[in-house]
Amino acid sequence: MNSYLLSAGAFFVLGTSAAFSHVTLETQEAAIGSTYKAVLRVPHGCEGKATTAVRVQIPEGVISVKPMPKPGWTLQVKKGRYEKSYQLHGQAVTSGAKQIDWSGGSLPDEFYDEFVFRGTLAADLPAGQTLYFPVVQECEGAAERWIEIPAAGQDEDALEYPAPGLKLAPKQ
């Protein structure tokens, strides 16, 4: 109990600021089979430097992905084949966006911004598990890679650069 309180206290003091400094998703839980609007929150640059590009890798099972254009940023979508075929509105979908790049912009360290895309969470994704969207944040001459995925049983808080995660809820 004591150690729980202690660690809870530690989380309160250290954890909140740490969580704030990570690139995260605004909505961190969504049901499988639903449409999901992903809002990537970029709270700061890389060690004080302005952010110039944000790249996100779309995990397998997130289909029909469309990014939202952003004024001042060049948008690029890298498409590829999915590992398997998915059913969407009665049609087979076998390829789509695998990576989205927003580049050529400049987001100073002292400002905050969001990068948005939308997609469908395939109905056969495993509910209860977490889906990770690895993000590379590029700055002038530096980069921060929010790409760490916890190993089985590993505490997510122990990671230095965790990938933004989305908890999959059962189908509604």
């Binding site: 790249r55 890798q57 690895p134 590379v136 890679r145 760490e148």
Partner: protein, 561 residues
């Protein structure tokens, strides 16, 4: 996955040649042989007490597979030991968890690496890979590597105690070998070349040669015991002698026996050949010393071996002449005058060559002057230098103050000269004792090589593996070299590699450095300083692709400086 056990690690790289020779037993053995030997023993006792606690190998163990303290999932098919210089294995054994030793006889030498086949399937528990090898200087070193199958258990008991009686015997054998070579063969040379028909001191010289003739083969057997780590009781067994003969000291003994034989022949053989035999014997003394030992094994060989030869032959010339000359002076001062004249004419260039060779060897061996005080080898050298200073002072007085009047026939001066020569003899014996002590102290040159050895670790996971070496493997400014591969030994073309060194128990924040690619397929970190010794955790963050990072880590032991 590799696990480590802290306590076990300390057992690796244990060296059998250190300072822990028994000074007390040396003293005991020595004192029975007379007061002069007692003096030597006292000097070596002093050196042994003053020696530092840490023992170093002559050939240093660099890496092992499995690593010391490793926990393996299954029985390895092979072991490998990599040293700082080429070695030949003497005894390789695997000690099972229940303490039963299994000799490992199938091995291959590949440059500095010994690859050993493991013929048995090992059960779970902690095993000890016990090794004993010999390096080019002819001095055996040994140690053990502990590893476990499945999970670590209690380490089996391995007897590694230093055999003090054996060490004392080796030392005494070496002193007597020196007596035979320098006083015996050198004395025979003096009688043949300088005494002009006088035979004074012949009995002592013959006695010295016989002493050498006994000590030389005995030393070979003792060397064999040391090589195999066997107790004195096994001296009679043939494999002991075979092992001794196979080391480079075996060559020394064979050449020494020839030199001793030639010396004896020049004294008791046909008169006509006496000079030739004596000269060949003197050359044999130099050759015997140049055949093995620290100094002869040092690089550059084209320099050190001839220097050891000259040094040895010079000592034999000088030290060998002392007894015949002193005795000739005491018994027949008038007849001894030409002997004295010839000796004093020749001794200056001989001592010049002897000293020059000695200085060259000392510079090669000691390298940095600080090592004179910091290492046991350096302290023995200082003791030897002090004795030499005393000896040179006496010799100079003899040469420039006493020789002239003695040759002119002043009896008082002649008596003084004889007494002085007697003291010189004692100092020479003491120097032999000190020099024989070097058998147990690796030279600073070898210590520097050992200190410069990298700390290495092999990290193997399913996703990636890496060989990380930190050079030198001690605290201070270091460079890290990293070779990465995929988990199944394939090439791994990483986009970026970051080295993170941390030591949580010392309250040091992780030291994080991005590695660069020098272009030879490896990764390097140059601007690194390791502040404290001990067990660090080395983590490698390998960026396999834009979105995939593999992190692998293992403990790495950083030595104190």
């Amino acid at each position: 996955m590799i696990f480590w056990r802290r306590a076990l690690f300390e057992r690796a790289r244990r060296c059998f040649c250190g300072r822990d020779m028994s000074a007390a037993s040396l003293l005991r053995t020595g004192c029975t042989t007379g007061r002069a030997i007692c003096l030597l023993a006292a000097i070596v006792l002093f050196a042994a007490i003053a020696a530092p606690g840490q023992a170093f190998a002559h050939a240093a163990l660099v890496t092992t597979e499995p690593t010391d303290g490793a926990v393996l999932a299954q029985s390895p098919a092979q072991f490998s030991l990599t040293f700082s210089e080429p070695v030949s294995p003497l005894v390789l054994a695997l000690v099972r968890p229940d303490g039963t030793p299994v000799p490992l006889t199938s091995f291959r030498l590949n440059a500095q690496t010994v690859n050993i086949d493991n013929p048995h399937r090992l059960g779970s528990g902690t095993h000890v890979l016990s090794w004993r090898v010999i390096s080019a200087d002819g001095h055996p070193v040994g140690g053990s590597v502990l590893f476990s199958i499945g999970a670590p258990g209690a380490a089996p008991a391995v007897s590694e105690a230093v055999d003090r009686g054996l060490r004392s015997a080796i030392w005494v054998g070496k002193v007597f070998l020196y007596v035979g070579l320098f006083l015996g063969v050198g004395g025979a040379f003096a009688i043949a070349w300088l005494a002009q028909g006088g035979r004074a001191g012949q009995l002592i010289v013959i006695a010295a040669i016989l002493c050498g003739l006994v000590a030389a083969p005995l030393s070979l057997g003792l060397q064999g015991l040391d090589a195999l780590g066997a107790p004195l009781a096994r001296l009679a067994q043939p494999d002991i002698w075979k092992a001794g003969l196979a080391t480079s000291f075996g060559r020394t003994v064979l050449v020494a026996l020839v030199a001793l034989g030639l010396g004896l022949l020049s004294l008791v053989g046909p008169r006509g050949g006496a000079k030739l035999f004596a000269l060949a014997g003197l050359a044999g003394v130099g050759a015997a010393l140049a055949a093995s030992g620290h100094a002869s094994a040092a690089e550059p060989q084209w320099l050190t071996r001839p220097m050891v030869f000259l040094h040895g032959a010079g000592i034999a010339f000088w030290a060998g002449a002392l007894a015949p000359l002193g005795l000739a002076m005491r018994r027949k001062p008038v007849e001894a005058a030409p002997f004295l004249r010839r000796f004093s004419q020749a001794i200056l260039p001989v001592v010049a060559v002897l000293a020059a060779a000695g200085i060259v060897l000392a510079v090669v061996q000691v390298q940095a002057s600080a090592a004179l005080l910091e290492t046991a080898y350096g302290r023995l050298l200082l003791v030897k230098l002090a004795l030499l200073l005393f000896l040179f002072t006496l010799a100079a007085i003899n040469r420039w103050k006493l020789t002239g009047p003695a040759e002119a026939g002043e009896t008082e001066v002649q008596k003084k000269l004889v007494r002085s020569i007697g003291i010189e003899m004692l100092i020479v014996l003491a120097i032999f004792g000190v020099a024989a002590g070097w058998r147990f102290t690796p030279p600073p040159r070898a210590l520097a090589i050992a200190a410069a050895q990298p700390a290495s670790v092999h990290i193997h996971t399913a996703k990636a593996m890496a060989d990380l070496s930190i050079t030198p493997g001690h605290v201070g400014p270091v460079a890290a070299s990293i070779v990465i591969m995929t988990g199944d030994f394939g090439p791994l073309d990483a986009e970026q590699v970051t080295l993170v060194l941390s030591k949580p128990d010392s309250g040091i924040e992780p030291i994080k450095r991005a590695a660069t690619k020098p272009g030879d397929g490896s990764w390097r970190v140059d601007d690194l300083v390791v502040p404290v010794p001990g067990r660090w955790t080395a983590r490698l963050d390998i960026l396999v692709s834009d979105f995939e990072m593999v992190k692998i880590e293992a403990p790495i032991e950083i030595r104190p400086k």
